[in-house]
Symmetry: C2
Subunit: 471 residues, 2 copies
């Protein structure tokens, strides 16, 4: 339901959604497979150390914990109520929450607006707004944060800690992102599924993310914007980069988006594009780009110019990158155009037959010391804005040691405020190195197009900041 | 150097490049790190059971094998000569090979046309052509096949067996593909790096692939086409789908492609597009698409119509797919438009609140039996051309069992000649399932865009065949 700007009382209470001291699980269940069971199981499995109060009028005990007939019967303050009861019972649970002075309510139950029950959903929203009880959901999968060992919902994974705040309207895609986080070390500060977003909206979580010390970038998965004005304002005011993906734009997707999270897409894609332009956010096209951009934006400073130097030991991966840079409208410049003296300096770190172009091909025989030298020289050159390092695992490449050297160079030169992005194309060895680089704070990717997309996103954010600074 | 069509004597001798009974390694080395050392190490490590003859005038023994001063001194027939000696010595080695009646020569040495020594390279080519000794390379990384336990070159990985023949002009990208093959079970029939392709060209390997019983699809990485006419003819005559990626098309890429594999790109991208259109090949844009398309084309029959039914347990992944289908010009049709009766049949396998649209959302609670039923119904419906199955790992999804059920349904319905493509978005669990599905012959991918691209490639191949059938 419409808000015109992020509401202060909501933003102030959002910490209770991600770091509550006590939780009432309403509709808690003794049956494995039920949401009400999974929530408590998940909280415990991932190390939640607050207090859990099952609410179930037909049980004295749930999963070894004393159960209470209603929220009101809990003999303690309740920060968060997680509600997983049938749709028609939700209203009375919310009334109990208001009486109990619960800080925030989260409703996982579905079968509201997305199946035509808009009136019922709006009634709940209005009731919560009248009583300043923020409501997250309904029809949502859950939320959590690896920093608080907090995993609350219908969620089998906790992501690895890192800079990305993931705010998603889709549960399934949120789950996918969390799985990817574990598998590919896409570090997250927190995540939340907003579902139908009857009350709490994107704007409020964007504002929360801006204040959250663990968050470096904000990733927002959007099916529909109920409150574009609030979104624009919150995004404009954010001091952190925001990347969005908007889905349901296809003809057949309109219907599906409504059925999924009751999202209405009355407007054309041009309309959404204009909202995103006004908001000053980066828009990803594909899911992979969305994740990759968010990671780069979370780990690296913005890219403040077009002088990108690529250093590689494989001509082919250099070419794939050149082509993709050009497709994305950020063509690589020649090395001599970027910095007349740089090649002379890099030359010391490559064989005679290496290529003096950009990409700088230091050849398939490049050693870790040669990589270190070439990357250092490029990073220290005042004419260079960004260094893009690619490693191809040839039979003589010590991929692991190259990564260690680049990490050291990056740590020494962080103060330069120039982004470093890496690509390591190949199999298990490369995957392991990508994890290591990401853990060390360097965005690294398994294909040229992913790394290039990430650099383009960093440049887009640089341009957004430049426009803000001019205004 | 120009050929106007695939030469018979070359195609007939190519089996010696991938399944030789005896190999002379010229320039074999006792020093780890040298190409001449790595070749022998690689052959042994991956189980080559033919005879290996090191050639080295300064050693009696190399890696425990008796060494010979020249190829001519080997007291046995030599099928393949792998040459890793300095550029200026190559000519005399080739003379020895001709005298010895070696079947095929492979030159890994670089520093030929790509650094300006075109004359020297052409001289070698002409000599080999005059003597009908096919020459692969120079400036190449190697070749191999998992079916023959054969890994010959500068190559740390052998791919897993499967349908894709990988013909690459770039060594580094070939290595990346082989690593990906191991890690992501992108099965290959054989692979070869062509390097500067002074003599043997794409056309001849395309023809070899057409005759190779292990090959289901051909993937060709192209930096430059020296012999477009031969390429077009070989591709037109191929009974197997061919996917290409053309790199070096960017402005800065022209120079880099020349420095890399001496490829000249005098023509515009329109020129290459017209070559590919005439040839009837599928063109991928990005590296990921190239690999993903090749796998789908190798495993599945062509897609003969636009009636694609998507079955998913996650609305969000359905939406990402819808949007990407539309971006790629193959929008999903509504279920009732595809088949008026199908929804009634699928309805039995989904909860009341599941979505009757396409994507068919059988909901986050979908069981393996429900998946099985829905997929079976769709696959058996005569109006359906392709079934696209997506699994989102919710807390209650038995991803593994769903995959098993789909594999069973696919095996029962292979005769229908309709492609089945899968998507499983998420972390380690999904990655493992993707490997299982691929091993079972079903192309499966970790993102919606990858699966959709693969389906579009199958449709493109269907259209290519339809055009051929009409002509």
């Amino acid at each position: 339901m419409l808000i015109t700007e992020a509401r202060d009382y909501v933003v102030e209470k959002l910490p209770y959604a991600l770091n509550p001291k006590s939780i009432a699980v309403v509709g808690s269940s003794r049956l494995d497979g039920k949401v009400g069971f999974k929530v408590i199981e998940g909280l415990r499995k991932w190390g939640y150390d607050g207090r859990i109060y099952p609410v179930n009028p037909r049980a004295k005990e749930v999963q070894g914990l004393p159960a209470y007939p209603t929220v009101k019967d809990i003999p303690d303050e309740v920060d968060l109520a997680f509600v997983a009861v049938p749709a028609h019972v939700v209203k009375s649970v919310l009334k109990d929450c208001v009486e109990k002075d619960v800080k925030i309510a989260v409703i996982s139950t579905s079968a509201f607006k997305e199946i035509g029950r808009e009136e019922l959903q709006n009634e709940l929203t209005q009731y919560c707004r009248d009583n300043e009880l923020p409501l997250i959901g309904p029809n949502l999968v859950g939320m959590g944060s690896p920093y608080f060992h907090f995993n609350c919902g219908f969620i089998p994974y906790l992501p690895v800690p890192g800079p990305v705040a993931m705010i998603s309207q889709s549960g399934a895609n949120l789950l996918a992102a969390l799985g990817t986080s574990q598998e590919d070390h896409l570090g997250m500060s927190f995540f939340v599924g907003l579902g139908n977003k009857a009350d709490v909206d994107f704007a409020e979580f964007i504002k929360y993310a801006d204040q959250d010390p663990n968050t470096g970038s904000v990733a927002v998965y959007i099916e529909g914007l109920d409150s574009p004005e609030a979104f624009i304002k919150a995004a404009q005011e954010s001091s952190k980069p925001i990347v969005v993906i908007k889905v349901g734009g296809s003809k057949i997707g309109h219907k599906a988006a409504f059925a999924h999270t009751a999202s209405e897409n009355p407007e054309s894609d041009d309309y959404y594009q204009s909202v995103f332009d006004k908001a000053g956010v980066i828009r990803a096209t594909t899911w992979q780009e969305f994740l990759d951009d968010a990671l780069a934006l979370g780990l690296m400073p913005p890219l403040r110019g077009d002088h990108i130097v690529m250093i590689t030991n494989g001509g082919g991966s250099g070419l794939l990158s050149c082509d993709h840079f050009e497709r994305r409208g950020l063509p690589l410049k020649e090395l001599k155009e970027i910095s007349p003296l740089l090649f002379g300096k890099i030359r010391n770190y490559m064989p005679m037959f290496g290529s003096p172009l950009n990409p700088v091909d230091i050849s398939g025989t490049a050693t870790p010391i040669q990589y270190r030298g070439a990357v250092s020289q490029a990073l220290r050159d005042p004419n260079v804005d960004c260094v893009y390092v690619s490693i191809c695992p040839t039979a003589v490449t010590d991929v692991n040691e190259v990564a260690d050297q680049v990490i050291e160079v990056w740590n020494k030169n962080k103060g330069s405020n120039k982004p470093v992005v890496m690509e390591c194309q190949g199999g298990k060895e490369c995957h392991d190195i990508i994890l290591k680089l990401r853990d060390a704070g360097i965005p690294a990717y398994p294909t040229a197009e992913q790394a290039v997309n990430a650099i383009v996103a960093l440049r887009d954010y640089g341009k957004i900041l430049e426009a803000k600074e001019k205004a």
